[in-house]
Structure formats: C-alpha cells, structure tokens
Amino acid sequence: MLKLNGVSAHYEDVQALREVSFTIQEGEIVSIIGSNGAGKSTTLNTVSGVLRASSGTIEFLGRRMENCYPHEIVDRGVVQIPEGRLLFPYMSVLENLELGAFNGKARIAKGKNIQTVFSLFPILQERRSQLAGTLSGGEQQMVAIARGLMAMPKLLMLDEPSLGLAPLMVRQVFETVKAINAQGITVLLVEQNVFHALSMSARGYVLENGSVVLEGGGKDLLNNPQVREAYLGI
C-alpha cells in the first residue's frame, strides 16, 4: 500500500533520513521504533509532505507521492496524527473534528463521520463544546485520533500517541488503534512504548540515526535481544 524506496531527507542542514526503505501492506499495523533523534518523526513528516524528500520515491496505492503538497496527500487518504497532538487549542472539540474533514469527500460525509467518531469516543460527544486546549492529555489524544479519522484515511499514521499519557490512557489509546485497524484502516505507528507497539504490529522497523537497522515481525523484534539492549541496556 505504502512503499518508500531510498528516501533521504534533510532537516535544517542535517541529514535526518538516509535512504530509508520500507513497505506497508494493506490492513497491517506496522511500527517504527528507535531512540530520540533516530528519524521516526521525520519519516512521517516526509510521507505527509511536510518535509520534502531530497531523494528516493514514495508510492501510495501505486501512485508516486513524494512531490505532492500536504493537502494533496491527505486527499489521497494518508493522514498523520502528529506528535504532541497539535489540536487547535482555542476551538471546540467539535470544530476540531469538523476541520479534520476539510477535503472533498470527507466534508460530504462529515455528519455521518461525526456520529461514528462519537460512538467510538463517547466522552468526546459529552465534551464537544469544550475548548480543545482545556482537555486532559488523554482526552486530547482521543480528539486528535478522532480528528484524523474524520479525514477518512486509508492509512493512518500516528506519531508517539502514548507520549505524556498515564499508563491507563496508554492502554486505551492502543486498544483504540487496534479497533481502528480492525475496521480496515491500515496503521503506521511510530512509538516510544516498545512493548505495546511491537506486540500489536504485524511487522516493525528499527531506525537508528536515520537508517533502518532492523526489520522483522512484530513479535520477533520484541524478543530480539538487540532491541531490548538498545532500550534497556541489558
């Protein structure tokens, strides 16, 4: 579904991605893990068009995408839930959700999608007129995910969704991601919480200093001593 081939990208003079290649099949959950500064967010930003790749190709559903504008990429069905959630703080939950459905067909189906999203996250319906900036971390994450769903993605990319959340919320977030995947949306997960990410992923990639250094099945990677070493020093 998504194929990156030899993608390099620069961020403020520094080469953040070095010829990264990976693929995602339709319906999968794939994780990208790695330490801070390894290039995980850069990867997502390059796919989303926020950063321009300096070389390599990005293909989605058979069509090349590396030279598209961010809004065109959303149109094609690739939606990113950014790190830190980045809600519109002075707008209500409902307005945030509505803005998620900016492009053509999502806007038409907006009403229906809002109902769907509210049934997935009942608490958001309760809080729909509240200013997004006043919600708790967990609630904000839910709004962020819901907002992304409003764009009717085929591929949903999440950048560290568990960041800054209490353990209970973290579990809930990952349950939600699994549920979304069960509904047929492919998921690319960039995560810090290795266990959750890898145990629900079909496959995973380990990034280090902008390059893919390990790849394999989710469970295999979890048991791979190299991964555990990197994260725990044991």
């Binding site: 003079d13 520094v14 080469q15 330490s35 801070n36 500064g37 390894a38 006043t134 708790s136 971390g137 560290e160 960041l163 800054g164 209490a166 353990p167 973290v170 810090q192 919480n193 290795v194 266990f195 959750h196 145990s199 280090e208 200093n209 070493e229 990197a230 994260y231 725990l232 020093g233 044991i234």
Partner: protein
C-alpha cells in the same frame, strides 16, 4: 589589544593589509579631485552616509536588532548642537558632545525595555520612538521653532564648525567614517563582537555560554548612537538648516538599513559599499529627473530593497567575498604563506587547567530539592529531589515527556520553578536568571537540539565559550583550539557549522560548553541520534571530561551510554522521580521496566 603584530613591515606587505590601506589613501585623495561642488557634495554625502550605515550595522547587523528608529538620534544630535549654538553661542564641536550625551541617555532609556521585544515588535517600537521625537520637535515650537525649522547663519570658521568649501567637510566625514570602520573592525575580532554575533544567532545558547545578552545589546546601541548623533550634528553644520521632517525622518532610518543590507548585513565594510553605491545613485536620480521625479528615486530604492531582501540577502559583500580572497593572493606579497594557525597547545596549559579543577576542594556538589513546575494544566515536574556528588557522573533518564529537559531548564535559569530549590556548592541558585548567571557560576550546559552559531566557524563558536572566562581574543583562541583538539575537531576548526555532521555538531556543542571551564556540566541528550561508533566515541570523551574533575549530570535516552558512564542514575516518569540507584539496580527495578516497556512486559 594588539592587531598589528610585532613584525611590522612583514605584516604591512601582506595584501590583506596594504590593499585596504591603498583604498583608504584613494578615498583620502578623492575630495581633492573634482574641483566641482556638485561632485564634492556627492563625496561628502557618501562618506557621511557610510559612517552612519556602519553605525547602524553595529546594532542591526552585528547584534541583529533591527532598529528603524535611528533617525531619533540623528535628530537629537542635529537639534542639540544647533540649539546650543543659536541660543548660547556654544561651539558646535562642544554641542556635538552634548548631543551625544543626550542621545546616549535616550538610548539607554529606551534600549533597556525595548530589547525585550521580539524582532517585529522591536522594529515597531523603534519606529514609534522616532515618530514621537518628530512630533515633539514639530510641535514644541517654543524650543525648536516647530515645522519652520532652524537656520544657522553662515559664519565660516573652524570654531563654528562651518567651512566655505566642501572639502573640509569631506575630510571630517571621512575621518568619522574611518574611525567607525576601525571600531567595527576591532569589535568584530574582539570578545564583544563574538558576544554580539552569538546573541544574534541564538540568544539562548549565547546566554548559556555566559554572554550577558542585554548588556551587550545595550553597548552596541550606545556606540551606534554616539556616531549617529555626531552625524546629526555634522549634517546640521553642513546644510545649515534643519527641520523636524528632515532630521527625524523614518526615511533616514530605512535608508541606513538599506545601505547595510545592500552592502552586506553584519559585515565590517559592507555598509560602506552600500552607501558608496546608493548615495551617488540617489543624487544623480534626483538631479536628472528634476521636479518631475518626485518620489521616483524612492520607488527605485523600494524595489532595490525588495529584490535585495529576496535574492541577495548577503548583499554585495557576499559577491565580493567570492573573488576578493583570490584577488589578494595575486597581488605582490600574496603568495607568501599565510600565518599558520597556532598548533596544538603546549601541555603546560592543559596541566594548568587540570590543577585548577582539582584545586576546587570545597564541596562542589549540586542538589535539587523538591523542584516542581507546571505548565497550565500539565504538571511537568513534581517534587523532584536528588543530589549530584562532586566528580561523579549522574544519569537522568526516563521515557519521553518525563520532565528531564524541564529540570535542566529549571536549573539553568531558562524557566523558573513553582517551588523547590537548586543548590550549587552550598549556594542557592534557584532564582538566578538570566541564564548567563548560571554560566558564570561555572555550570555549563548543552541543548538537546544543538544550537551552533551559524555565522561563525567551528573555532569561533568555541571561542564564544572561551570568552566566558577570558577577555583577550588571542587567549580565547588558544583555549578554543585546545578544546577542539581535546574533542577531536581541530582539523575542522575553520569550517562553517553547516558543513558538520550531526555527530560533530554535538561534539561542538560539548566543546563550546567545555570552553567556559565549568565545574558542573549538564548534558542534554548528547548521545541521541548517533550511530554505535559515534556513541562509543562520545562515551569515551565524556569519560575523559569526567577524569578532568568536571562533575556531569546527563540526560540520556540511550541506555547503553547511561549504563557505561553513570555512577548513579535518577529515573523520572511523568514528572515524578520513580527510582534512583546504580545503573545495575535501575535496570532491574520493576518500576523502571514498567515505565519504559509497559506493565504487560513483566506479566
């Protein structure tokens, strides 16, 4: 401060030195050539605007503070000397000094509060100040005759600062310009200049290296307004008529910036190039197009400004620099080998620093007590306490968002805690701010996202750190080279920071902080983003630093580094300290494993 070395004649015969001297001689001869007041006037104006543009560049270019209100000081200079002359028959030379004094007072009065403002707002505030003064001059008729202006009766004589011919004016303007040029040149290569450029590039990083940014900006402003004010007096004595709309004109402020930008913002001689190019152009435009052209010359200026800003941000200097070096080499004396950089330092200097560190016998320990900080609804740090014993390496770890960098920012004066204390060597340093004070207490830090100073080479970057303890540029240079040698960047010392790899930039960041000779070094994620080999190298380097007696507190995400280096580890999670102990104890601690890998991992 020596910039002419002992071997005078050898220095003199280098093209780098004699060519600019030849240019200066040409300029000195220039006023005598035309024998025609029209051209003489152009020369006077060019020198005079050159001086003013250089003065503006000190604040706008070197320090990066875009002032659009310099006309205020021009006008103060013009009016002060003129009024003193007209009412008290005070010689304009003395009146000039009075104007300078007044300008400096105003500069201090407005500079201190205004420098807090960000660039767009600073520009707006400076415009407002210029305008306020213009209104005052226009409407305080009792003092200034208002819009009618002031006419100075023509009584030539040196004591009146008035001359029959334009030539003496040209020489006075030339002297003014050359003095300003010399000052700019001297500043550029001095500690003060390094401070200015570093604060322009990254104010936070500069503060962390001990640069007193507010004071430096103010000094630059003061020097700048002294010369701007003198120029105002000069103008009054040259034209012999001033009115509020001419000397307190926003147009002047903009023109000065224009000359500096066209010539090369932040360069030493760039503004002169800009002034020399545009002043004659302006005069000719006005003369040729006559009355029909009202405004045409400004249309050209405006377009030039817009185009320059977009396509030639480096100005003419950028272009000149590409051929100037090779050109100098082709001149006689150019092929002589350029002075080689000072080689690796005699070991005496290294030994001295080691002794100094070990002589610090009093308890150099560092303690954080019950530190708390919340941002809005989010508690970033909650009641965290720990100690860092002297000479040890303490690791501060925790998953993303645990509060580690917040602790660093709290400790180094970038943000202030809601409650709690920070103690260093027995002193409370909690309330210390701005951050340069922390550096002066001998605490250095690096930043998670490296902040190299872009306008400078690797060596110059390190020198900014060295200047924290040293006044003399040559000593700072030597220390910087020593540090670069220590961290392995000697061969790259002349390179611009943009050509460094991320690993090298992290090393530069480390070296820069080291150059401030800290007793305690705070390293923020210095290992992140490095490949295994680079990680090994930096681990080795940190060990070397610790061996020199410097205490280290490091935030790290890469467990390998933490385990290899730390004597003890403090673990944060969601703003709380959840564990503390040796690396081995920590790696087995249930709560830590839970925090990183999730509870399920243990199940």
């Amino acid at each position: 401060m020596k910039f002419i070395s002992a071997n005078f004649s050898e220095t003199l015969f280098q093209p780098k030195i004699y060519f600019p001297l030849i240019l200066i001689l040409l300029m000195a001869v220039l006023p005598l050539i035309p024998q025609n007041p029209f051209y003489e006037d152009i020369i006077v104006s060019s020198f005079f605007y050159g001086a003013m543009a250089l003065a503006w560049n000190l604040v706008g270019g070197f320090a990066g503070q875009i002032s659009l209100g310099h006309t205020a000081f021009f006008g103060i200079g013009a009016y002060t000397s003129t009024l003193l002359y007209l009412h008290y028959a005070l010689s304009p030379w003395l009146g000039m000094l009075a104007g300078v004094a007044l300008s400096v007072l105003v500069a201090i009065g407005i500079g201190i509060p205004c420098f807090r403002l960000k660039s767009h707002f600073f520009a707006l505030a400076t415009i407002a100040i210029g305008e306020v003064l213009r209104f005052l001059a226009a409407y305080w008729r009792g003092l200034t005759q208002g819009g009618v202006g002031l006419l100075i009766p023509f009584k030539p004589g040196i004591e009146n600062f008035m001359f029959k011919s334009k030539i003496p004016y040209a020489y006075i303007a030339l002297v003014l310009m050359l003095v300003m040029l010399l000052i700019c040149y001297w500043i550029r290569n001095s500690r003060f200049g390094f401070h200015l450029i570093s604060l322009r590039e990254d104010q936070d990083a500069a503060e962390s290296l001990g640069v007193k940014t507010s004071r430096a900006k103010l000094m630059a402003l003061i020097i700048s307004v002294v010369f701007t004010s003198i120029s105002g007096t000069f103008y009054a004595q040259y034209i012999l008529f001033i009115d509020p709309f001419t000397v307190f004109s926003l147009g002047i402020s903009i023109e000065l910036a224009l000359f500096a930008i066209i010539g090369g913002l932040g360069t030493v001689a760039g503004p002169i190039l800009g002034a020399f190019m545009l002043t004659p152009l302006d005069v000719f435009l006005r003369a040729w197009l006559g009355g029909v052209s009202a405004g045409l010359n400004f249309i050209v200026y405006g377009l030039v400004l817009m185009v320059a800003v977009k396509y030639f941000p480096l100005g003419i200097s950028g272009w000149v620099r590409t051929w100037y070096g090779p050109f100098l080499q082709k001149l006689p004396g150019g092929r002589r080998a350029l002075k080689t950089e000072a080689a690796a330092v005699p070991s005496a200097v290294t030994a001295k620093s080691l002794e100094a560190a070990q002589a610090q016998q009093k308890a150099s320990f560092f303690e954080v007590r019950s530190l708390s900080k919340r941002f809005g609804g989010l508690v970033a740090v909650r009641d965290v306490s720990f100690q860092v014993p002297k000479g040890k390496i303490i690791g501060l770890i925790g998953p993303n968002g645990a509060g580690k960098t917040t602790i660093f920012n709290l400790v180094t004066g970038f943000i202030s805690p809601d409650s709690g204390e920070v103690l260093f060597q027995g002193q409370t340093i909690t309330a210390l701010n701005p951050p340069h004070q922390i550096c002066l207490k001998r605490i250095g830090r690096t930043f998670q996202v490296v902040k190299p100073f872009r306008g400078m080479t690797v060596l110059e970057n390190t020198m900014v750190g060295a200047f924290a303890r040293l006044q003399n540029a040559q000593e700072a240079r030597r220390l910087a080279l020593e540090i670069l040698d220590f961290i392995g960047l000697s061969k790259d010392h002349g390179l611009p920071t943009s050509s460094l790899t991320i690993a090298d930039r992290k090393r530069l960041e480390l070296g820069r902080a080291l150059a401030t000779r800290p007793d305690l070094l705070l390293l923020d994620e210095v290992v992140a983003g490095l490949n295994p080999r680079e990680t090994e190298e930096i681990i080795g380097m940190i060990k070397k630093i610790s061996d020199q007696g410097i205490t280290i507190l490091m935030i790290a995400h890469v467990m390998k580094a933490v385990m290899a280096l730390s004597h003890r580890v403090v673990v944060l999670h969601h703003g709380d300290k959840i564990a503390e102990g040796t690396p081995l104890e920590i790696s087995r601690d249930k709560r830590v494993i839970e925090a990183y890998l999730g509870e399920e991992y243990l199940a």
